[in-house]
């Protein structure tokens, strides 16, 4: 029975893969998947340039981290100069003033008021731990909820609705294929395309973010829990494609204009935190956020609504999340199969 299905599924997948991977229409999916890579690459380059600049400044104005950390509020200008030496930059604003130091790694601003230290602000060099949190936030807020979400809307709704609009779906419906087989074939093709594109995006983001760290730091991170984190993010990306893919495949079969249900699903997923426990489980994001290795910590300045969006709602254990996701996906695919059985070719009304 399964053998009988495999060959036609393979044929459908082969045909669909060309369309999903190489069509001009799908180029935007690559753009959405790779846009954060560019930002993270930029961040690394800026960070590297800053590091170079700090090292050069520290060489010209040598001081030590210990000396800078010993500066306390209330000290006089002379005391500061005695401990930390000449700053690389002085800003004189009348009664106020700033001495700018660097030890080659971190940057320190010593703020004076009436020739006494008012406060010392430190801009530490980015650490892997900090960047991991940044990545977790961007991954959960932007990548999962928007990039993968909209990518899946584009790819999966196109599988049926796109062909109906192109008036080419009858090509499949004139073959001795079970409609369920067609659904599975198309789903596998869409899933393969989105998984490859977005998982590559995830890996490239992590790579781009790591560019400004030293090799030893990266090795330490990987030896600790780095590999498992990377694997988890790639897994969550694939799971997102799996879950959202099934939802939007069904939307493409069910609705003439799948954008309205897509927007509704986005709202539903965003309101997930407010939903009662039972309803929470009927969403993809609930399981995905439970699988993320780091709890995202939003920036203080972040919009309150956005903060809410990245807050995971009572996470479940990984096995439960994975099983839950598969169950949701399976149910939605089952529904898609039933919808496909009732699918009619009536191009004029689409």
């Amino acid at each position: 029975m399964i053998g009988m299905w495999l060959s036609p599924i393979g044929s459908v997948v082969r045909l669909e893969m060309k369309k999903t991977f190489f069509s001009k229409r799908g180029l935007w999916v690559y753009l959405v998947a790779l846009a954060p890579v560019a930002v993270m690459f930029l961040h690394s380059m800026v960070s590297l340039a800053n590091g170079e600049e700090r090292r050069a400044l520290a060489a010209a104005h040598p001081t030590s981290a210990a000396a800078l950390q010993s500066i306390m509020p209330g000290m006089t200008v002379d005391e500061v100069l005695e401990r930390a030496g000449e700053p690389f930059d002085r800003v004189d604003l009348g009664r106020r003033g700033v001495f700018r130091y660097t030890d080659g790694r971190d940057a320190y601003n010593v703020n004076f008021f009436n020739n006494q230290v008012a406060r010392v602000t430190t801009r530490t060099r980015d650490t892997i731990a900090y960047d991991s949190t940044i990545f977790a936030t961007v991954f959960q807020f932007f990548y999962l909820r928007l990039a993968i979400f909209f990518g899946c809307v584009g790819v999966f709704t196109n599988l049926f609705r796109g062909e109906l609009l192109d008036k080419s779906l009858h090509y499949y419906l004139l073959t001795p294929l079970r409609r369920e087989v067609l659904v599975i074939g198309k789903y596998i093709a869409g899933l393969t395309a989105t998984t490859v594109i977005f998982c590559t995006g995830t890996v490239l983001q992590i790579w781009a973010l790591s560019l400004h760290f030293e090799k030893s730091e990266i090795a330490d991170f990987l030896n600790a829990d780095g590999w498992s984190h990377i694997a988890a993010y790639v897994g969550v990306t694939a799971a997102a494609c799996l879950g959202y893919g099934s939802v939007f495949l069904a939307a493409g079969l069910l609705f003439k204009n799948p954008i309205i249900p897509a927007a509704s699903v986005e709202v539903w997923e965003s309101l997930n935190i407010f939903l009662p426990a039972t309803l929470k489980k009927v969403s993809v994001i609930y399981y995905l956020q439970s699988l993320c290795p780091i709890v995202a910590q939003p920036d203080e300045n972040m919009n309150r609504f956005l903060k809410l969006m990245i807050n995971a709602a009572e996470p479940v254990s990984a096995p439960v999340a994975i099983i839950g996701l598969f169950v949701v996906t399976g149910l939605v695919l089952l529904l898609s199969g039933r919808l496909a059985r009732r699918l009619e070719i009536n191009y004029s009304t689409d």
């Binding site: 044929s11 369309k19 009858h170 419906l173 004139l174 073959t175 001795p176 294929l177 009536n346």
Partner: protein, 312 residues
């Protein structure tokens, strides 16, 4: 497996719009033509028998297979649709080969079968060109190739002669005849009446979603007793002839030809008319020819649906 395609009280509505209504048909092997003006329900009928649309009411049976069972149906049915759209970027060969692979054929078998069928529709030279660059006639032929590629027992062809040049058209008609001679069902829809008139074994006339007549063309004509039959008579003394025939109660109209060398007669009873004509001929009229003027699909159509003439 039954030997006919049957529609049992089938109706199909698109919302408030009628597709076909209360269609009961039995289509035997041979060439069957579906004739009717735009919107009469020809394509709907074809889509119904191939499962592309489902009946709102009634049931359909294609040689014992339900159209809702594509796994079995498309092993015996090939459908050349009117939809002139194809998967993007495919060549004619890829189009047929990938179609055949969906039937479970291996790559090599599908390639060989695809090439065979492409040659059969005279597209071998264009096989490796993209379909997007094909002319209308070539696209028609590649659709025909798709329909016959898996050697089906039932061929459903929606306007298959559209856009074909005369040579290819006659070759295609010859193909239809050959398939029909093998005992297959060839169901053809067309607006070009003289084509189906000459090739059809039977005809199904549709108007406004209803089947208005079905059967062999002559048989259908015979059933239309309430409609007068037209006969063209070329003879001498046409004026006198007109006066003589008009005296008979079954003759409802006699119209003189402009050249005065003949007349068109409308009669309700063909048998009585021909008997009467034999008697009149004995009275010294020279009758050059007697020919039925309306024993074709076109006139049948005019009888049946009045003003709604199909495109000629």
């Amino acid at each position: 497996m039954s030997g006919a395609i049957t529609f049992d009280n089938v109706s199909r509505f698109y919302g408030d719009v009628l597709g076909v209504n209360r269609v009961t048909l039995s289509i035997p092997p041979g060439i069957t033509s579906l004739v009717g003006p735009n919107g009469s329900g020809k394509t709907t009928l074809m889509n119904l028998m191939t499962g592309l649309v489902r009946p709102t009411r009634g049931s359909i049976d294609v040689l014992g297979v339900s159209p809702q069972d594509p796994e079995r149906l498309f092993k015996i049915v090939g459908y050349s649709t009117q939809f002139d759209s194809y998967p993007r970027g495919m060549t004619g060969f890829q189009f047929i080969q990938s179609y055949l692979r969906l039937f479970g054929m291996s790559a090599n078998d599908a390639a060989a079968a695809a090439m065979r069928v492409i040659e059969r529709v005279n597209l071998a030279e264009a096989a490796n060109r993209k379909i997007a660059g094909y002319s209308k006639g070539m696209r028609q032929r590649i659709r025909l190739a798709q329909a016959i590629a898996h050697d089906p027992r039932v061929l459903v062809l929606d306007e298959p002669l559209n856009g074909l040049d005369p040579l290819v058209r006659s070759e295609t008609i010859a193909l239809f005849r050959a398939w029909a001679a093998e005992g297959r069902h060839v169901i053809v829809s067309s607006h070009v009446l003289h084509e189906v008139d000459s090739i059809s074994d039977q005809v199904i006339l549709l108007a406004n979603g209803y089947v208005v007549a079905e059967g062999q063309i002559r048989g259908v004509r015979d059933e239309m007793r309430e409609h007068p039959m037209q006969v063209v008579l070329r003879c001498t003394r046409a004026n006198e002839m007109a006066a003589r025939v008009f005296g008979a109660d079954h003759v409802v109209e006699a119209r003189l030809h402009a050249d005065g060398g003949g007349l068109l007669i409308k009669t309700r009873d063909a048998d009585k008319f021909y008997t009467m004509l034999n008697h009149i001929a004995l009275d010294g009229f020279v009758i050059e020819s007697v020919a039925p003027a309306d024993d074709n699909v076109n006139s049948l159509y005019e009888y049946l649906i009045g003003g709604e003439e199909p495109t000629r």
